[in-house]
Amino acid sequence: MNNSTDKSLKYARWIAIATLAALAITGFGQMPLYKRYYVSSIPGFRWTADYYITHNIHYAGAIILLTLTAYYTTRYFMQFRGVYRITRQGFGIILFLAVIAVSGILKVIASQKGVYFSLDFIFFLDLLHIIFSVLFLISAGIFKIIKLPWVERLEK
């Protein structure tokens, strides 16, 4: 793999990290916490108490992440499969992200005009989305601390 590919992966990695951070901040902002606990009183953080702003940023983050995921998944199967290997913990992370994405997408569908999900199903989606988000954050943090990579470069 050439240097430009490695460089593009490096940029994508930082975009993904920034997007995931924005998704986590705005995701937890869907609960009424930031105003209660004065986060929105910090200069420059007033927007965290506006549910419409955090909701739209959350959606925008999801768009970026879905685009990146589709782009690199396609490239992985077309080009990188012989170069990189997804590790066991990488598969765990993929599972968590997949559940978060599917439950999130279903929540988006549920909030469309003329679409009705049962209360039980919405509660189930909310629970899944929150639990797997927390699991993802904890496991990603642990893997980072103990230096377990999600992907490994295969030996030439």
Partner: protein, 328 residues
Amino acid sequence: MNHKISRRDLFTKGAKRTAAAGIAAVALPQAVKGATGSELATLLDLRKCIGCEACVYACKDSNAKKYPEPVKPFPVMHPVKRVKVEDWSENRDETTRLTPYTWLYIQRVKVYYNGKEQELNIPRRCMHCENPPCANLCPWGSAHKQSNGITVIDTELCFGGAKCKDVCPWKIPQRQTGVGIYLKFAPSLGGNGVMYKCDRCYDKIAQGEIPACITECPEGVQKIGPREDIIREAKAIALSEGVYLYGLEENGGTNTIYISPVPFDVIDRALEKGDGKPHIQPVADSMASADLLSKAMVIAPLAGIAAAAGKNFRMLKKIFSPEKENNE
């Protein structure tokens, strides 16, 4: 309503709901009811309302079993300066605004229009939006929309964070502290009671009955029916009788349509507004930008796949181009 829910109950209920939803998820098409089933809407003709409050008391009588019975003393909630107790349990008879015990009240207004003074009485309650932000943005799904167009708050799941009130263009839901599920977790740190609002007697409607506020009205101010029929009728009356409509386009469309002989901007200017006393101004669709972004969400993965395919195609073209072959 005195819900005695233990933490165990919650998890049992949660597990049951999760299991039920898991099964429902398998049969997803059955769980999703599309726009084929018509939503119900109400038409309120303000020309007929005499402000007798029969609807207000009918609502109170009919829904008394759903009212909160808070546990006192209330837990100390932190930060004390930021989290205020909202207790209406000692003032249940208040009828001059919306409260957790008054889901419908009469807004009285005197307006000067076309050179004469007129008194109007406006029954105010939840508008039951077509695309309700309270339901779309509730973090626990406790506020949810039914396929018949009614938005209901599940009092067993609500933590009383009042997000539904914050995102409601009319600030309709009202909070009662000291009741609900938050008491079973960390009441000092999260939640503050339960939110209450008109549920349009969803339980009566489920039994094929009419909401109490409609049946008890001596003047026949309100009528209920399929949204398309109600809208058709409202538009026809507006056209033939030169009256004004409110609720048709507000917040992207609601299931509560008001008919008034006076323009609503004139009414709004004269209206006493404040907490529990909603305005009657034009309202833009709160979910419009989110709806736009959700459309982009459908395109996003396709764009990613296309970009990756394009990139690979360019790389392959470069590798197998004649120049490359010549160079080699």
